[in-house]
Symmetry: C2
Subunit: 217 residues, 2 copies
């Protein structure tokens, strides 16, 4: 987190407000190098955060009709485009990694300070607010954004015939708990997720777990 | 282009409209495997189309204030999220590859038919229209989307100290011509691009070309 900014390698001959914005837009190139636990469907490698963020944007555009509360599609897409940026410095925290999840909040707050602080003050506030909105899940747009954020890696797990569902200790119960945000934003997508989990358990891709247990959030 | 859909490897236990939408959303995972000519700034490898599309979405959100005509930011982001999808079947056509550019239109039209045809009819029309809008560059949103599509790889070239600017035959004249769409949507960003080109030529990262020549579009 203390390493120099990318822009310091080849400073741009542009300063002022636009110079700050371009420095930020170059620094975020790092998101393409933050690996997630999820396997791609198209080839045998893990997904990175930039690819994931793009995939969520398209999922929002295609699936917004299933949101139980009306959502502003453009705003929801902005939330998902921004939601993982802080992982540039904080790293990815896999959905099924309890140990890393303990230190997640602290790491991510420090990362947000540094990254959004590259922008001009008004935009630092604006983009930080988008991230806060996503995390708080208090608006219909944030709830739907979080729902697709949970749905996407599980679709990839399906296509891999297991993927991160095969993390030691994970059972259908864990997966049901960690994907509960989907049904909270969309009954249709929540039902589809439940169908997927049931079939995946039937196929041996998720270990059977006690139905009705609570499991960690 | 005739290979089976990804979804055929592991059909989902979900049919109807949502089944079609999820099949499309899984097929587009392939965009993460379409390599562009551009080098990343963060690490030494080429960029893929999904990463590029995400980067454009964020650039639109940060730079929209420089559009010479007012733009709907949410709609502009939708355009860039969708604009490269057809490359899943048509492949990427590098900005400085004249030979591939000759067959570009035909390859892309066939790809659009196949890919958008996976969606339910109403969405096939909707998403095809977004792609057509981007390509036609007749709305302020499409013009600004195309401008950032041209700006992004040139920022990466700057960070690489050359990148695709070093394609044989490319001179400052070629780069000026191929980036003209930037200034047509935003005087500020067009001026910044001209400054970059001038400095890059000065640094020996772009070969000097005849100013005022026309060069291919």
């Amino acid at each position: 987190m203390d390493e120099p900014l990318l822009i310091e390698r080849r400073p741009l001959p542009i300063d002022g407000r636009l110079g700050q914005q371009l420095a930020f837009l170059i620094e975020v190139d790092r998101l393409k190098t933050v690996l997630r636990a999820s396997p791609l469907a198209a080839v045998d490698r893990r997904e990175n955060d930039a690819e994931h963020s793009w995939h969520l944007a398209l999922m929002v555009a295609v699936l917004a009709e299933y949101a139980d509360e009306p959502v502003d599609v453009g705003h929801t897409i902005r939330l998902v485009v921004v939601h993982d940026l802080i992982e540039i410095y904080a790293g990815d925290t896999p959905l099924y990694d309890d140990k890393l999840r303990e230190s997640q909040v602290e790491r991510e707050l420090a990362a947000a300070e540094r990254l959004f602080g590259l922008l001009p003050d008004d935009q630092a506030i604006e983009f930080r607010a988008l991230w806060d909105e996503f995390e708080a899940r208090e608006t219909p747009e944030a709830r739907f954004a979080k729902a697709v954020d949970r749905l996407e890696p599980n679709l990839l797990n399906w296509m891999a015939g297991g993927g991160t569902w095969k993390t030691p200790g994970v059972t259908t119960n864990t997966v049901l708990t960690r994907t509960a945000h989907i049904g909270e934003a969309s009954k249709t997508l929540g039902d589809a997720m439940a169908t997927l989990i049931d079939s995946a358990r039937h196929n041996g891709w998720i270990a059977a777990g006690q139905q009705g247990g609570t499991g960690p959030e």
